[in-house]
Amino acid sequence: MNSTKTSVIEELPMPSMNSAIVEFRGVSKWYGNVIGVNKLTLGIPAGVTGLLGPNGAGKSTFLQLATGQLRPSQGTVTVLGHRAWNNPGLNRFIGLCPEQDAFYEWMTGRQFIDMCAKLDGMSTREAADATAKVLDEVGMTEHADRAVGGYSKGMRQRTKIAQALVHDPLVLFLDEPLTGTDPLARRDLINIIRRLGASGKSVILSSHVLHEVESVTPHVVLINHGRLVAEGNVREIRDLIDAHPHRIAIKSENDRLLASKLVVFDDVVGVELVRAGGGILVETRSPDAFYSRLCSLALEHGTAIEQVESQDDNLDAVFRYLVNS
């Protein structure tokens, strides 16, 4: 180990469960007149967090600020309690899997990751060990000795994640890691991400494929126009969206009768009859009150309920409501 290596961070205080791993305080960044992020203040805790937003929302700017590639025009960005910008010592603890697909095509996967490991400061032996370990973790061991140029999209993504993991970072930033992967590779990658989150690392996952983000974590950060729109648990966020009443789909033995019974209640603001025997769609302002009376209704004569499902208690709907409003 190179003992003369100067590092700003020798000993990193382990963050407590509630303190933020990545913290933005009043951060703004503009490129000339174009604003990338606009007075962003948020804290991302440990575990897996989804970073969502439409195209042009500022997600890539966010990631670049968080990994110290960009300097904030205003405000402070701290990762693990230390300033992110111009802090090469911090790179030891951060891993980034970027969106762009740029490899040295002629290298084999193993050579590439080995090179990254050595760039992180490991000795030859340490690098070789770390490379083997991380290749095994992403499931690329059997393909590791082929040139990257011959890899499929899924293999390339896995190699990218491997290079982000090779130095065992505490915080991992993944920018669209699942693009173009087939369902098999996607399942493997999602399992890897889940495992990383469970093992105490912080993973910030930026992705457009909402149902996959949902399957990995309930905790999300939603950005639009460079500003923070919402942050927290998906269900909690949903409850806070007043403007859109909850939509619940119900199928029963007699839809119209059930509808007539439901319309009586105050919190029910709309009942829609779905065509072709699709049941009914109820809109309610207080889901709790609504669900609590369903049991008795279901046991009443003539309105046995066969199916109940919330239509918009998911990330897709939350995203749509928040981004379009």
């Binding site: 439409p54 590779a185 494929v209 609590s292 279901a298 046995a304 749509r320």
Partner: protein
Amino acid sequence: MLFDLKSIRKTYGRITALNDLSVVAPLGAVGLLGPNGAGKTTMIRTLLGLIRIDSGEGEVLGINIRRKPLQVRQIVGFVPEDECLFPGVEGVEFVAYAGELSGMGRTDALQRAHEVLDYVGLGEARYRKVDSYSTGMKQRLKIASAIVHDPKLVILDEPTNGMDPAGRIEVLELARDLCKNKGMSLLFSSHLLVDVEAVCDHVLVLGRGRLLAEGTIAELTRSERPIFEVRVKGDLADFSNRLARQGCTFEELDGVLHVELPDGRSQELLWSTASDAGEQIRMLKPLRNTLEEVFFKAVSELA
């Protein structure tokens, strides 16, 4: 019948892309699934008549792909996966040019281009150069140029890859509308199984150049045993114990209960249990295999 391939075989050197592939697809929206390297791209190119196959026969909408590939492409529209443009032209000219290449006259092509651009929702942007379009707009432009010559079949190769949620919804809606309301057949090839489920009725699963599974989505995702997915507000463990006492078998996954009711009982059992326990049932629906599970099951036979 949309297309009918019989024992298609295609090799590239040592790699066998299509290995005695035989498949019949019905009209309507057909999904094409398969892991990387399964031969989806090769199959699509075979359908377009762009490939010289080693052996086998095939027909697309009744036209022989070996003998009349140009005629096939006359009635098929293709939306490729990669980024591709005719450089330096405006949107309207792009689509009109595509029409001209399919044999339409200049005025016909221009008039039709405007119609089709209205349909896909590219308004004023059609007078701007295509180089300046966003990803979503480029995708819609590609779809427009694929339908300008009014094909009977549109092949979409990974149409929602890398698009943001808003863009995806638009493209899927377009696809659904084309199929359900305008009578076009679709071949929808995608890795995002959720999208395939949203648009298609019928799926084909390929693997290593062969057909692994096919059928309507409704059929394939039907569960063998009548199991219900249940989610409650409060204590799941307590609820499940109560159910167990009444003869149900269950399994818990990620906060959701998969319950199999004893013979002859209906959902009424669940409601009465909840009522007794003072519980709220927040979700109740019959368990269906997701398309993902169908996919994994089909592909597992490969390994």
